[in-house]
């Protein structure tokens, strides 16, 4: 397309024209309209922050619940934890969420280790990732006896 020029010699592109002005007005108006619709919609879709129940400690089990070389999962806030009694009778607690892809792990008595069924990941009794794909050890919790209750708490 050949560029039109006006009688004063200025190229048309820089000359304010009524059509150009109306075009900008219409385009700006439509953009503003779409923006004022999309903004609330996007904000609506993003879920609001819900206060997570952050319990500092929880009763994971009673003293007689676990025999040596066994384990069980328990609810810690909104996430699962795992309580393990080692073959020597010691209690240990970890986050039960596998560090690989967030499956929930379980205690394998035959292997005497913590095992993730999803991708065959294995953690030792200190929570260290010893086999399979998990990249990090399990988060370890503190275990304390209070009467006959086994209390698990997060490390600060």
């Amino acid at each position: 397309m050949q560029e039109k020029s006006r009688s004063d010699g200025r190229p048309a592109a820089f000359a304010p024209t009524r059509r150009g002005f109306l075009g900008w007005l219409l385009g700006g108006g439509i953009t503003a309209l779409l923006g004022s619709i999309l903004y609330p919609v996007v904000r609506f879709i993003v879920p609001p922050k819900v206060a997570e129940s952050m319990e500092a400690s929880v009763v994971a089990a009673k003293a007689g619940d676990l025999t040596p070389n066994s384990g069980k999962t328990f609810k810690f806030g909104s996430r699962p934890g795992i309580l393990v009694r080692t073959p020597s009778g010691e209690y240990r607690a970890f986050s039960a969420i596998c560090t690989h892809l967030q499956c929930t792990v379980q205690y394998r008595e035959d292997q005497q280790s913590i095992w993730c069924a999803c991708h065959n990941g294995r953690f030792d009794l200190s929570g260290r990732n010893v086999a399979g794909p998990p990249p990090r050890p399990l988060e370890m919790y503190d275990v304390a006896m209070r009467g006959d209750e086994i209390v698990v708490s997060k490390r600060s």
Partner: protein, 364 residues
């Protein structure tokens, strides 16, 4: 190098035969006369339906359809979710406006006798769409699971249950049991978000297709004359569509203003064991039927007054659907006075009954 637009290789045109479509859009025109403004009512109803679909999908992200969680989830939308109050209020306001515009559309088509041959099926599909719209309103009203919704649903389904022969089964089917419970809520939810949208979308497509095939109807004049102005036409694209779009933008503004100034109330959570609050009445578009059933005597001769009322409304609905097949005069291009009078009577009856309910129905 210069390429003319017509010679530019078109990705779509090389693969699909779109020339016919483009030609159709270019030559599509809308009659332009003193009553052209009524052509916008259908498009407005359709636009409000789109608003309902969009806001409805958004509400689905947070809504939970159980008796235990429904009220709380709507409360969560109204108080916690960003702009949740806006989305829900627009959904409610737009629903009411959609019913209003569907009625306006229907009456304008009725009085201009646009249902006459050859547009009978457009009318039939339209009246069914109106009924579906009312079903949307009825089923959606229950979803927040508040006191008003609970009793409105109880009364509404009970009315259907009064029908002879099929009433009992219909009642059971609608409630998902003997009473209005969480089972009813889940059922109404399924209808509201899946069954009704599916049927409505299909029927809207048919309705629109018929309008596209036959074009707009010209109003039938009382003296049978065809004014000169009926020859005038406006291109649909972009002239008519631009006017449509302007109306839609204004509607969005009105919806947002209504939602901001009058956010839709949530009320109190439904308690199946609490008494119905005084002044309870259904949504405004059901009020004329509600008031009729309230005023009708318990017994008319040997027949239950209520059943007579319900059957009467059913018969009127059926007549409405069949209008183009009954109105022979209009089909022959003659202005049918009887049908205009019947329409006016129906309109006056609806207005009076609604007014009676709101003016004399006690505190609301």
């Amino acid at each position: 190098m210069e390429i003319r637009p017509t010679e530019r290789p078109n990705w779509l045109a090389e693969r699909y035969d779109i020339a016919g479509w483009i030609h159709f859009l270019q030559k599509k025109a809308v009659p332009r006369h003193h009553a052209s403004v009524f052509y916008f009512l259908g498009g407005m109803t359709l636009f409000l339906f789109f608003v309902q679909v969009a806001t409805g999908i958004l509400l689905l992200l947070y809504y939970r359809p159980t008796a235990e969680a429904a009220f709380e989830s709507v409360q969560f939308i109204m108080t916690q979710v960003h702009f949740g109050w806006l989305i829900r209020s627009i959904h409610s306001w737009s629903a009411n406006l959609m019913v209003l515009f569907a009625f306006l559309h229907m009456f304008s088509v009725f009085f201009m006798k646009a249902y006459r041959k050859p547009r009978e099926m457009t009318w039939v599909s339209g009246t069914i769409l109106l009924v579906l719209t009312l079903c949307f309103g009825f089923s959606g009203y229950l979803l927040p699971w508040n006191t008003l919704a609970f009793f409105a649903t109880r009364v509404g389904t009970e009315i259907a249950g009064a029908l002879p022969f099929i009433g009992k089964h219909l009642l059971h089917l609608m409630r998902g049991g003997e009473d209005v419970t969480g089972a009813t809520l889940t059922r109404f939810f399924g209808f509201h978000v899946a069954v009704l949208p599916m049927i409505t979308t299909a029927l809207v497509l048919v309705h629109l297709l018929l309008v596209q095939i036959q074009g707009m109807s010209l109003p039938l004049r009382r003296d049978g004359s065809v004014p000169k102005e009926f020859g005038k036409r406006m291109p649909f694209f972009p002239n008519f569509l631009a006017r449509d779009a302007l109306a839609w933008v204004v509607t969005i503004g009105i919806l947002a203003a209504l939602a901001a100034i009058f956010p839709w109330e949530l009320g109190e959570k439904a308690d199946p064991y609490a008494s119905a609050p005084a002044g309870i009445r259904p949504e405004w578009y059901f009020v004329f039927m509600f008031e009729t059933l309230k005023l009708i005597p318990a017994k008319i001769g040997p027949i239950d007054g209520e059943i007579l009322g319900i059957l009467g409304f059913g018969a009127c609905g059926l007549l409405l659907v069949l209008v183009p097949f009954i109105d022979r005069s209009a089909n022959h291009g003659r202005w049918s006075l009887g049908f205009t009078i019947a329409g006016v009577i129906a309109l006056v009856y609806m207005a009076v009954m609604t007014a009676v309910s709101y003016l004399m129905g006690g505190p609301s």
